[in-house]
């Protein structure tokens, strides 16, 4: 047996490890992938990054639905002239070795022409010849080397969407114009009374005008549209003063150059638009490989196996299933519609729907609901409802999912924007009125100057850069938020509600405790040796737990499925299994998993498997409980109430046996008076997550599982939650400080404007200066804050 770490994937090689070619592997799967790679000349995979492999999954019949040509047609990007192109989502891409091997896929099969990886999105695009090679074969090949594509109903339904590149283009136009206009404006800054300047300034001015036109008409469109929409719904958002400023700049500058009053402020105009678009671009950061919009479709299969009248199997699209159809559902497949069990070993895991993690045994005639996962073998069911009418999909039809939380929340920036606009207009009108009495000509001059210099750009940049940076810092530490407004909402929450199963409890190794008479070393050795021969998951957990000196050779070994194992050596016997197997009479039905042990027919004790709570929960609740109210909403029974009461502060409300609709309603009630943060994990929490002000989904593997939510939290980082909330509050404070800073700039600028002494060069200096300093301040301050509260992270 091999010991050490697997050459392919890096996992520990315990039982089941093999050796090949002088290297250790943790399982046959990894070894097979190694063989495939080396025999096709792809051993460079291991040189780029050691142990970068993923464990291949057992393919079996998982991809049978790709035999259906309708389905394949809808999935393909291109099909013609003997060539097909497919875009596949492959969640297990994680390093440069993955990129390398996937782009060298052509070495694994001659029909594959080329392939390209998009690493941030974790997708692969393959071009291959369709003669003699099919999509199904390609997908199976990928699965066999550990890169199984994720093909779900969601990709199937996806409509063709054009990629939106407009922001980069607008930014490019503005940047191009900004640079050139600044350069062309230089002669007039220097104000030297030179003859030639007078002759040629027209050329410069009109060139500048021509360059600024596209900026106004194309790049700045974003702000005009947003301001118009805001005004139409009677909201003074931040884009109103910006649009006003841009318009004032343009009109004033055009008038200036037409009537030769001056050289105009086009440099400030292009600079303003450029910096503002930069802020928008920065804030647009998304985690492209994570989807915050996943609904049940991402987990449902595209097709199911239907039995025709003659008993033959055919693959049909899941939408084509009608009530009365007989469907086959295999191991680890999800039941896509409400149905009734006809035959087969049905053990259903409903954790998606109810949060209950224990599998339920069902019998012929029982009703099975959509969303359950089959853990037994093959079973035959008859559909009772179509997919869209099943209970789970009804849950998703709830109106809470179409509500857009961001639009109804007034961000800090918009709040300031309102007051800013009013203040600026007042000052503009006031000062021009003053000048009307003293020198009418300067009145107009002053009015437009005030509108120009009252730079909303610093204010408009403070939030995007602060929040954008904070989003990145959060992401590095394991919390991925959907967008910047989530951060602002997070700073306002005062109540935190947690789901129990899967959120507070982990699905990793169960905590095992022993109750009863102590086992002697000899008995422990014998027990461990006996357990070794069994593949039952409980046996394996126990095996890993026990400390044994020696593995011995048994004289006799028996395993009775569903009951227990028995081992004998040198007249000593040991038995491990269920209560009845071991001979214990009339044990009370327990909600916990237990393995009883008897040595030489004497009952010694039992191992109890408890659902462990994640680390650091006590501290988590302590820190959160200081300034927030807590609560627990669980779909499970209340067997764990006592344990939870120990962890939580006194008087925390705990509700059990909550169905998904109950959770939603409870949050709604709370929201009458409070701002709610909900932390959950499964599809069954989706309604509650969507209803709450901030909904965070906890996930063990962020690539695999993330229902519709505002943020995804890596399960191992749950204890950092109080720090994240604290940081979000500090970010808001930071933004407010930036506002004060920008106010200083505005005061300086306004003093020039109000007295009628605003030269283009002053505006051209002040605006970029204020923008850049705010950006620098925001970036450095957030970095310091992040480091201070969360610690440095590479």
């Amino acid at each position: 047996m091999a010991d050490g770490s697997c050459y392919h994937c890096g996992d520990r090689c315990g039982r089941g490890g093999t050796q090949f070619d002088g290297k250790d592997f943790c399982c046959n799967g990894c070894r097979t992938v190694y063989e495939i790679f080396t025999s096709h000349g792809l051993s460079n995979f291991y040189e780029l990054e050691a142990k970068a492999g993923s464990v291949p999954l057992e393919v079996e019949r998982k991809y049978d639905f790709l035999d259906n040509s309708d389905i394949v047609e809808r999935l393909l990007e291109f099909d013609g002239e003997g060539i097909q192109i497919i875009g596949l989502s492959i969640p297990s891409i994680h390093c440069s070795s993955c990129i390398w091997v996937l782009e060298n896929l052509n070495r694994l099969h001659p029909s594959i022409r080329s392939s390209q990886v998009d690493f941030p999105k974790k997708t692969l695009r393959v071009t291959y010849g369709s003669d003699g090679f099919s999509l199904k074969e390609l997908v199976i090949l990928l699965a066999r080397i550990g890169y199984a594509p994720d093909i779900s109903l969601k990709e199937f339904d996806k409509k063709e969407g054009r990629v939106d590149r407009s922001l980069i283009q607008r930014l490019g136009v503005a940047g191009f114009a900004f640079g050139n206009v600044m350069m062309l404006s230089f002669p007039e800054y220097l104000e030297a009374e030179e003859f030639w300047l007078d002759q040629y300034k027209w050329a410069f001015r009109w060139l500048i005008f021509a360059l600024s036109l596209p900026v106004l008409l194309y790049s700045a469109q974003v702000f005009f549209v947003s301001a118009y929409k805001g005004l139409r719904s009677k909201v003074l958002n931040m884009d109103v003063p910006i649009a006003l400023g841009i318009l004032a700049l343009f009109l004033r500058s055009t008038v200036d150059i037409v009537f030769d009053f001056g050289s105009g402020y086009f440099d400030s105009l292009t600079g303003l638009v450029f910096f503002l678009l930069l802020g928008k671009f920065f804030q647009q950061q998304t985690y492209a490989f994570l989807s915050f919009e996943r609904d049940y479709k991402s987990y449902f299969p595209i097709a199911v196996t239907r039995l025709t009248r003659e008993g033959k199997e055919e693959q049909v699209q899941v939408y084509q299933v009608e009530p009365g159809d007989r469907i086959l559902i295999r191991n680890r497949e999800i039941i896509p519609m409400d149905c009734m069990l006809i035959s087969g070993d049905a053990q259903i895991d409903y954790s998606f729907v109810t949060g209950e993690s224990d599998a339920v045994q069902k019998h012929s005639g029982d009703k099975l609901f959509a969303g359950g996962k089959q853990l037994g073998g093959v079973m035959e069911v008859v559909a009772l409802k179509s997919v869209s009418q099943s209970h789970l999909t009804q849950l998703w039809g709830n109106s809470v999912f179409s509500k857009d939380k961001a639009s109804s929340f007034q961000t800090l920036t918009d709040g300031i924007g309102k007051r800013f606009t009013l203040a600026v207009l007042t000052i503009a009108l006031g000062s021009s009125l003053y000048w009307l009495f003293h020198s009418p000509a300067t009145a107009v001059h002053v009015f437009t100057s005030v509108l120009i210099i009252a730079c909303p750009c610093a204010i408009a940049l403070a939030a995007p850069f602060t929040l954008g940076n904070m989003l990145r810092i959060f992401g590095r530490h394991g919390l991925y938020l959907k967008n910047a407004t989530v951060l602002e909402r997070m700073a306002k929450v005062d109540t935190a509600i947690f789901d129990k199963t899967g959120t507070l409890t982990g699905s990793g190794k169960d905590a095992i405790s022993y109750e009863g008479m102590e086992l002697t070393q000899q008995e422990t050795d014998l027990l461990k040796t006996t357990l070794r021969g069994s593949n039952h998951p409980l046996s394996r957990s126990l095996y890993d737990l026990l400390e044994a000196n020696e593995i011995q050779v048994l004289d006799d070994f028996q395993e009775h499925t569903g009951m227990g194992v028995e081992g004998r050596m040198d007249q000593h016997t040991i038995k491990a299994g269920s209560a009845s197997y071991v001979g214990r009479e009339g044990g009370a039905a327990s909600s916990l998993t237990e393995v009883y042990v008897s040595a030489n027919e004497n009952l010694k004790g039992r191992f109890v498997f408890k659902n462990p709570y994640r680390e650091g929960l006590g501290d988590l609740f302590d820190s959160l409980g200081k300034d927030m109210e807590l609560g627990i909403l669980s779909g499970d029974n209340d067997g764990e109430r006592k344990q939870l009461e120990q962890l939580l502060p006194e008087g925390t409300r705990m509700l059990f046996n909550q169905r998904p609709e109950d959770k939603l309603e409870y949050i709604k009630e709370l929201q009458d008076k409070r701002q709610v943060l909900m932390v959950g994990d499964g599809l069954n929490d989706a309604g509650a997550l969507a209803q709450s002000d901030v909904g965070i989904a906890v996930s063990e593997d962020i690539n695999v599982f993330s229902p519709a939510c505002d943020g995804i939290l890596d399960a191992s980082k749950l204890s950092l939650l109080p720090k994240f909330v604290h940081l979000s509050r500090k970010s808001i404070q930071l933004i407010k400080i930036s506002f004060v800073l920008s106010l200083c700039y505005n005061v300086i600028g306004l003093s020039f404007a109000v007295t009628g002494r605003l030269e283009p060069v002053i505006a051209a200096i002040l605006m970029p200066l204020s923008s850049i300093s705010i950006v620098l301040f925001a970036t450095m301050a957030t970095r310091l804050l992040g480091r201070g509260i969360l610690g440095a992270k590479t």
């Binding site: 440069s96 990129i99 782009e103 590149r165 050139n180 060139l207």
Partner: protein, 63 residues
């Protein structure tokens, strides 16, 4: 000094050419993924012939 017209014209045209190149590259999707090319360019091109010979040798040794 009227040569300045020509100078302006040339410099603006050159700038416009670069700008056009930028717009074309954005349209073609070169800015959709800015991370993977940075990794891709570090991969070494193996000489196909030698690679194949080496591998067939390794295979022979394994058997």
């Amino acid at each position: 000094m009227s040569v300045i017209y020509i100078l302006l014209a040339i410099s603006i045209s050159v700038a416009v050419i670069f700008f056009a190149a930028f717009v074309i590259s954005v349209r073609k999707g070169q800015y959709d993924d800015t991370y993977t090319p940075s990794v891709r360019m570090l991969f070494e091109d193996e000489l196909v012939k030698e690679g194949r010979e080496e591998d067939s040798e390794t295979n022979k040794n394994n058997e």
